[in-house]
């Protein structure tokens, strides 16, 4: 479920999209199957966010006096029905228009009445029968209207099969916060910002229960600063923000890099640049995630690909942060972060939790904080440990932690700090590849757009196209081998993302030879990408790539 609001803080227009399916829902969906307009002016304020096509059923308020063949829509929908919603609702009070609509939908599609009635009761039950009963009656009235006015094309859905284990319900931000607690996060420091604040909200309630601490800081710099402090003190720590906050944290991320302190930094992306469009999704902070610090600094960048995946990927972010003693940027986007999604229970017992390497008593005898083994990783002591005393610093330092100006030491330390990430090149499990490995056409997508592309690829496959899909959860460092293998068969395809610049496409080019047949399909944010359109693009590519075989 994706909600969307006008610019009004309270009051004003709002919209709500619900996507239902008996199979896994992979994205918020593109074109609407059913569109309901309580009034046309507000409907159209959401513009391209609520797209309609030739198959959509449009239900709209009869009081608007719009003839079905003169709707203020760019496309002629499959069917349009004017319903006197306000009139039907009137006997049941001001707020019952929504209930009438629920009744209409239940009536026309057969979506489980029982569940809907249970939901209404859950939502309104505690307000007493004076509120609940009219709502129920409004629902019934909607249902009757539907029964009395059958659709031209039947839209009845067969009932969903009974499930053994019920699905869980949550949004990306909540799942991210829960995963942090699972991973052992004991400190959160941050500053509110839409659309990431709910991570902070949940942790401000729950983290204490896990012996953790919480700080709503005075700004994003202090937010990450306190998290760096907590990490130095030995706790797993996290901060979460969105673009503007991310920009402010730039210097401190570099500090965590050179001081080699584990830290997870969540960036829930929204429309940019600057304040941009705070309530809409975009994927335009990727290059920043990889390259914003000054100096040669490297930090892994992960991206969640769905609400459910947010759990495992968040835990992975902590594991990588702790193992490699590094800040990790975890990218989410508004679409996933604020979308309520029903998802399969996750078997958490199969998700490992990794802690940072501590010095052994022998190592503490003559402790050198930054003395590294072959893997570039050095055991890290925490304040309170006798013998582990050291100086953490943002200044270049030698193995002991003493400040240095030596170019030779600088080079050695840079090598250490980069070398440790070599191991990530082996983490092929952090890139998901779906479909026939030899397919000549490929799609690469990340973040919430991965879900859209999963659907697009499914459509394309149904149409007989030989397409495979690559979705990186670890985006940077670029695991070069995986892409090289992917490109070995797929010489044509798309890199799909919700940004103007096509940031993932550019990033990949930096490290691997992207075939010329791979095109960047990049659209800026706010409006959703649509699976069917991507599928169509794939068909074009397929016909061209087949042609190229004959050239």
């Amino acid at each position: 479920m994706t909600k969307s609001f006008g610019s009004q803080i309270r009051g004003g227009e709002s919209s709500c999209r619900v996507r239902l399916s008996t199979s896994k829902v992979l994205s918020a969906g593109g074109v609407l199957n059913i569109a309901i307009a309580l009034n046309w002016e507000d409907y159209n304020k959401f513009g391209a966010e609520l797209p309609i096509d030739e198959e959509t059923l449009v239900i709209y308020e009869a009081a608007s006096q719009t003839p079905p063949d003169a709707l203020p829509l760019a496309v002629k929908p499959g069917e349009a029905i004017a319903v006197p919603i306000a009139e039907i609702a009137r006997p049941f009070g001001d707020k019952s228009k929504n209930m009438v609509v629920l009744g209409l939908i239940a009536g026309w599609t057969g979506i489980a009445r029982e569940a809907l009635l249970h939901g209404i009761e859950k939502k309104l039950g505690r307000k007493g029968p004076a509120v609940l009963e009219p709502a129920r009656q409004a629902f019934f009235a909607g249902e009757s209207f539907a029964r009395e006015h059958p659709l031209a094309v039947d839209r009845t859905l067969s009932p969903a099969p009974q499930r053994e284990t019920p699905l869980l319900l949550g949004d990306g931000n909540e799942v991210c916060a829960a995963a942090a607690l699972f991973a052992g996060c004991q400190f959160f420091g941050g500053y509110p910002i839409t659309p990431s604040s709910e991570i902070m909200h949940l942790l401000s309630r729950e983290i204490w229960k896990f012996g953790g601490g919480f700080l709503q800081a005075e700004d994003e710099i202090a937010g990450i600063g306190s998290a760096i402090g907590a990490s130095f003190a030995g706790k797993k720590a996290m901060t979460a923000t969105s673009g503007p906050g991310m920009s402010l944290k730039t210097e401190m991320i570099g500090l965590a890099t050179i001081a080699e302190l584990p830290l997870v930094i969540v960036n829930v992306q929204r429309g940019g640049p600057a304040t941009g469009i705070p309530t809409k999704s975009e994927q335009a902070d990727l290059l920043q995630a990889c390259f914003s610090s000054h100096g040669d600094a490297m930090r892994p960048v992960l991206a969640v690909t769905s609400v459910a995946d947010t759990f495992a990927t968040t835990v992975e972010a902590f594991n990588i942060a702790e193992h490699f003693q590094t800040p990790v940027v975890l990218l989410s986007d508004q679409e996933i972060a604020q979308r309520k999604e029903a998802f399969e229970p996750i078997d958490t017992s199969r998700i490992p939790v990794i802690d940072r390497l501590r010095p052994t008593p022998e190592q503490l005898d003559n402790y050198h904080r930054f003395a590294a083994g072959a893997d570039g990783i050095s055991p890290i002591s925490q304040p309170g440990t006798p013998g582990g005393n050291y100086l953490a610093s943002g200044i270049e330092h030698n193995e002991e932690g003493a400040p240095t100006q030596s170019g030779v030491v600088h080079e050695r330390m840079l090598q250490k700090r980069f070398r440790k990430f070599d191991a990530l090149q082996r983490r092929r499990d952090l890139i998901e590849i779906e479909g026939d490995l030899d397919a000549p056409i490929g799609v690469i997508a990340w973040g919430s757009v991965a879900g859209v592309c999963r659907e697009a690829v499914a459509i394309a496959r149904e149409n007989g196209l030989p397409v495979k899909l690559l979705v990186p959860r670890l985006i940077y460092p670029v695991i070069e081998k995986v892409y090289e293998e992917f490109f070995a068969s797929a010489r044509h395809g798309l890199v799909v993302e919700q940004s103007f610049q096509g940031q993932l496409y550019r990033l990949l080019r930096m490290y691997v030879n992207v075939p010329d047949g791979f095109i960047s399909l990049a659209r800026p944010g706010a409006n959703p990408l649509i699976a069917s359109q991507i599928a169509r693009k794939l068909e074009q590519i397929a016909s061209k790539s087949l042609q190229s075989l004959y050239v």
């Binding site: 019920p166 699905l167 869980l168 319900l169 949550g170 909540e174 799942v175 829960a178 607690l181 699972f182 400190f187 420091g189 204490w208 229960k209 896990f210 012996g211 601490g213 919480f214 700080l215 800081a217 005075e218 700004d219 710099i221 202090a222 937010g223 990450i224 600063g225 306190s226 998290a227 760096i228 402090g229 907590a230 990490s231 130095f232 003190a233 030995g234 706790k235 720590a237 210097e251 401190m252 500090l255 001081a259 759990f311 029903a342 229970p345 996750i346 958490t348 304040p383 309170g384 440990t385 006798p386 582990g388 005393n389 050291y390 100086l391 953490a392 610093s393 943002g394 200044i395 003493a402």
Partner: protein, 294 residues
């Protein structure tokens, strides 16, 4: 609250690392380092239980010259880091330190919040009215008219008044010292560390290389006025605010203000809250239960 057991055997040398300071010969910061080590020896917590955080500047090099767990962070950010440390582990003795530029200019936005949160942290500013490390620019405490490389015709700005500022923030412990009165400075730092809550010590620590000639240690010795001798009552906040107005003109040393009834510190509240809510902890492997639909 900080532990106050005093193992009498602790020597100041235990707190001095073997890193050679990069400070210019004669820099006031040497005195601050000495005073701090003495104060720590008096308190007696072992170095590994101390976290000592700074920003960037000549003065901010100080943690590296001690044997504490040190963090020489980036310019202006000592306090957020110090607060994160203290919340994460309230058992540690946490000290923050840095220069006037570090604390009142680039880091000035963190100070009011550190003070109102009132964690049990001691913050020492080595106030030399100049940017030492970057070679002599105007600092927020440079007096109006000061001629520096960025104000060759004289500064046109009124300086920050650190004492009035932190009193405006409601700081529970406010003191000023100078290495020209080393025993006094040791006592102030010790008292600040022992104060249960955020404690601020402004040290007039002269920069011999870029500092103003009439604000050096020999001058300090001549002009300093001990607040205790002026009959100032450190429990009187309004009187403290009044006295603070003379910052930059008079060199007052001693405790300007000490809250006679220190409120519970934030780190204690953190512990209380953890204890209160600990019973509600979900098992980690059942963490997803919060997403169950009834």
């Amino acid at each position: 609250m900080k532990s106050v057991e005093i193992p009498t055997s602790t020597q100041p040398a235990v707190y001095k690392s073997n890193l050679k300071p990069i400070w210019c010969p004669g820099c006031g910061d040497y005195g601050v380092l000495s005073a701090l080590c003495k104060a720590l020896a008096n308190i007696g917590r072992p170095p590994h239980e101390i976290a000592f955080v700074s920003g960037i500047g000549c003065s901010s090099r100080i943690p590296g010259y001690t044997t504490a767990y040190g963090f020489n962070s980036v310019h202006g950010r000592a306090l957020p880091i110090a607060q994160g440390i203290k919340i994460a582990n309230p058992d540690l003795l946490v000290i923050a330190a840095g220069g006037d530029g570090d604390g009142f200019s680039i880091g000035g936005g963190h100070l009011p919040h550190a003070i109102r949160r009132n964690l049990d942290i001691t913050y020492i500013v080595m106030d030399n009215q100049v940017y030492g490390l970057t070679k002599g620019q105007l600092s927020p405490t440079s007096p109006c008219g000061a001629k520096t490389v960025t104000s060759v015709y004289g500064s046109m700005e009124a300086p920050v008044n650190p004492l009035a500022t932190v009193l405006g923030y409601g700081c529970g412990f406010v003191a000023q010292g100078t290495p020209a009165d080393l025993p006094g400075l040791i006592a102030l730092i010790e008292e600040a560390i022992r104060y249960p809550g955020f404690a601020f010590v402004n040290v007039q620590s002269p920069c011999v290389t870029f500092g103003s000639p009439d604000w050096q240690l020999p001058q300090h010795k001549k002009t300093l006025k001990k607040l205790i001798e002026l009959g100032h009552d450190p429990a009187n906040r309004l009187a403290a605010f009044d006295l603070a107005q003379q910052y930059g003109e008079e060199l007052h040393v001693g405790v300007l203000y000490r809250n006679p009834n220190p409120p519970v510190t934030y780190d204690q509240l953190v512990r209380q809250r953890q204890a209160e809510l600990a019973g509600n902890t979900v098992q980690k492997d059942r963490i997803l239960e919060m997403f169950k639909v009834a």
